[in-house]
Structures are given as C-alpha cells and as structure tokens.
Amino acid sequence: MDHIDILITLAKIVAAFAFLILGAAMTVLLERRVSAFIQNRIGPNRVGPGGLIQPFADVAKLVMKEDIVPRSANRFIHDMAPMISIGVALSTFAIVPFGNGIDIFGRHVKLMIADVNIGMLYLLALTSVGVYGITLAGWSSNNKYSLLGGLRSSAQLISYELSMGLSLIGVLMIAGTLRLDEIVLRQTQYIGGILPKWNIFLQPLGFITFVIASFAETNRLPFDLPEAEPELVGGYHTEYSGMKFGLFFLAEYANMITSSAIITTLFLGGWDVPYIEGLGLAPLTLALVQVGGFLVKVALVVLFYIIVRWTIPRFRYDQLMNLGWKVMLPLAIANALGTGLVLLLIA
C-alpha cells in the first residue's frame, strides 16, 4: 500500500460519508414534505427553493441550543450513547459497494470503502451492537420513560435480529459468498434472458422478512416503540437536547439510508442497471451510470420507508413480539429450508 492507495481510500471515505450525511439531511426534508403531502399540508417550503435549506437551518438551531444533562444522569454514558448510535450507522456503510470497480490512474479501484470477506457477518455484527446506543441512552438519563424506551428497544432488536440473520441465509446459499461485491456480481445475469437475476425474484420471501426486520432494526414505524410519543414522551431521547439529540436524529436517518443501501445491495441488484450492456458505453460512463442506478434504487427504498411510516399505525407491544417470534422467525426458517431444498434438487 503506497501513498496513492491511501489517498484513494481517504477520498472514498470522505465521499461516502458526505453522501450519507447529506443524504440524511435530504431524507429529513423528504420525510417532512411527503408526510405533509399525505396529511394534506404543504410542509417546510420557505427556507431555500422548495425548502431545500431547511435541514441545515435545523442543524444550526440544534447546535446553538443549550445542552442539558439531568442532574442524576450518568454523564459519561449520557454523552457516549449518541456517539454509539451514529458510529454504528456510519461504519456499516463502509462495506456497501456503490458501483462496480473502475480503472483509474492505471489501477483498479473498487467502489467500496472496506472490502471485507465476511461482509454479511460484519453487517449483522454491527446491527446487533447498534442497540447499545438506544439502550444506554435510556438507562443513563435516569428517567422512567427513557428507561422504558431503552428496554423496549433491546427486547425488540434481539427479537428481530434472529429473523434478519435467518432471512439472509437464502441469499448466502445462492451467492455462495459473504462478500457484498460478489453478491452484487452474481445478480448481474438474467433469468431466462429477460428478467434481471436480482435476489428479490429468487428470494421473494427472504426479501419480505428482511425488509420487515430492517424496519424493526431501524426503529421506524410501525416498529417505533422505543420512542412512542403518546406513551413515552420521547422514549429513549426524552432527556436529550441540543446537538446530542441532533445526533440521535441524524443516526436514525443515516441508519435508514444504510439499511436501504443494504436492501438494495442484497436484494435489488446493487449497482446493476439491467440491459445496459447493449448500449456499448465507455467503461467510465458505464461505471457512473451504475453508481447513479444504485443511488436511484436507494432513494426509492428510502421513499418506501417514509410512505410506510405515514400510512401504517404503530404495533402494540404484544403484537410486536408475536409477529417477531411466531410469524417472522418460522417464515425465515422455512425460506432457508426451501432454498436449500431447491438448490439441492437443481444441483
């Protein structure tokens, strides 16, 4: 590894994280505009054209606010919790391939920050650690509503982590690798010459269970019990103010984008744009179109997240647990079993 390699890696890190942070800001705006549309309102449209500058105005407001820590809170952990949340969201994004490799400056550059050969397991490990941000925020605030939010989140995440991992087994068996870039490469062919060989068509049940589990893991409605406003004031972040609250907010949206990117990579063909080989584009143009295709797919999944949030009511706690253990888990296991059987019959 020489200097240029280090520079390339740095450039990739800066680009990916700038995308993630800016994307999170834009998603906040998108969410507010879409929810306004659904509720027959207009939404923020005064700051900048179409309200484009609104998220930055919000950040400026949050930074200037006073940071209040409750007197009986555990100060160190109270400070650390939002950092864990945002750290996990950012580091999961490191393994997402946002394009096929390109040849530039005479060397082959893979368009992902970290090329880990246990990618899928890394993803699951980080998701499982992410719960600490919320749990510790709830505990360290020394407030009963916060604590309830934290407890709910740890119970919820433990329950849905299982079906999340199990629903990936089908994809793993088809691809035969844990590397995310190779999983995308396997999806670039066609079924019967017409349909793109995306995992959503090969693994429809796995796709559905994974998406539902992702909703639960990102604490989005209908699974937002950790911060259910009518019952828990603000849930785990009741006692947070200023930019520490802002970090939780940012982490939620960054998590949403990361999990949309993961869904795209694993099930929607990643950067694959079907039927593009026929156009005969130059390699660099092709790579750029593919990155564009990836971004469009991620944006569509994010939009899906937002629309679901504003159309479906919240689960009750017992419904959440029943769904997780009695419906999702058996479905995910059945999917793994079925995929194994089919693969065995084909081979």
Partner: protein, 170 residues
C-alpha cells in the same frame, strides 16, 4: 515493531484494563459495559490471529446478543450500587490463592520453555484455518456429530427454560 504486534499490544492492554475494571466497578451496568469492551478487545485479538470468523461471531453473539440480554436484565432489576462486604480470611481464600499462584507459575514456565516455537508456526497456516469456508467444511464433515449434539443440547435448554417459565405463569 510490525503493525501486527502494535495492534496486539493495544488490544491486549484494553482487554486487561477492561477486565480489571469489570471486577472493581460498583455499578453493575458499568461492569457489564466493561465486559462488552473486553469482548471487543478479544475480537481484535482474534483478528490479529487471522481468525475473522471467530472474531465477528464473538461480537455478534457475545457483545451483540448475550450482553444485550445481560444489560436488559440488570436494567429491569434496577440494581443499586454494590455495597462492600467485610469478609475475613478463610481457608477457601488461601486455597484459591495457592491454586492461582500454581497456574501462574505453570503458564510462565510454558512460555519460558516453548515461546520461540509457537510464533513461527502461526501466520501461514492460520490464514487457511480462520476463514468461514474452512470452519464450515470442517464443522459439517469431521466435527458433524459434536456439532449436532451441541445443537440438540441447546434446544433442550431452551425448551427447559420455557417449561420452567410457563409453570410459574399457569
């Protein structure tokens, strides 16, 4: 000093410090958090040994699942800080100290006599053993029986736990 040995020293130091803090802290939650930090340091050590699979499983299973349950239960019980208990010297303590000292001497003796032979063997072979593919194929061929027996044992434990919990509910 190579990067690997620097990483080893860092992870080992973090692991030792967190293990020490884990037993000395009064607050159970803080102790649990130091245990999580210890698991991360251990995972880092596995990585320096090229055992990626075990490293990631260490985080996924221990730090991400088991410790979440630990923290969950401690939070649910709402434990206060531990209070110190005065305890005199008993024969149990003397015996434990003697055994620990003996084990320490044994480890030191082994390290003194065979340390040079151990380090040479590692890198080339370890990269082959540590991958997911190698562990998977070994687990489902040579170690299939112990693997299946373990899974049956775990299932039995789960069923037993549910049975015990249900009895109280009914």
């Amino acid at each position: 000093m190579t990067l690997e040995s620097i990483l080893f020293i860092v992870f080992a130091a973090v692991g030792l410090a967190s293990a020490l803090l884990l037993v000395t802290r009064r607050n159970p939650i803080i102790s649990a958090l130091y245990l999580i930090l210890n698991f991360f340091a251990l995972a880092g050590l596995y990585l320096t040994l090229h055992a990626q699979f075990i490293a990631v499983i260490q985080i996924l299973v221990y730090a991400g699942a088991i410790m979440v349950l630990f923290v969950f239960v401690i939070m649910l019980l709402n434990l206060r800080d531990e209070r110190s208990l005065r305890e005199g010297l008993s024969w149990k303590k003397v015996f434990a100290a003697g055994v620990s000292f003996g084990l320490l001497m044994e480890v030191i003796y082994i390290l003194m006599t065979s340390a040079s032979g151990m380090t040479e063997l590692l890198p080339a072979k370890a990269t082959e053993i540590g991958t997911v593919e190698a562990i998977g194929s070994r687990l489902f061929t040579r170690f299939l029986f112990p693997f299946e027996v373990t899974s049956v044992l775990l299932t039995a434990a789960i069923v037993g736990a549910i049975l015990l919990a249900k009895k109280k509910l009914d």
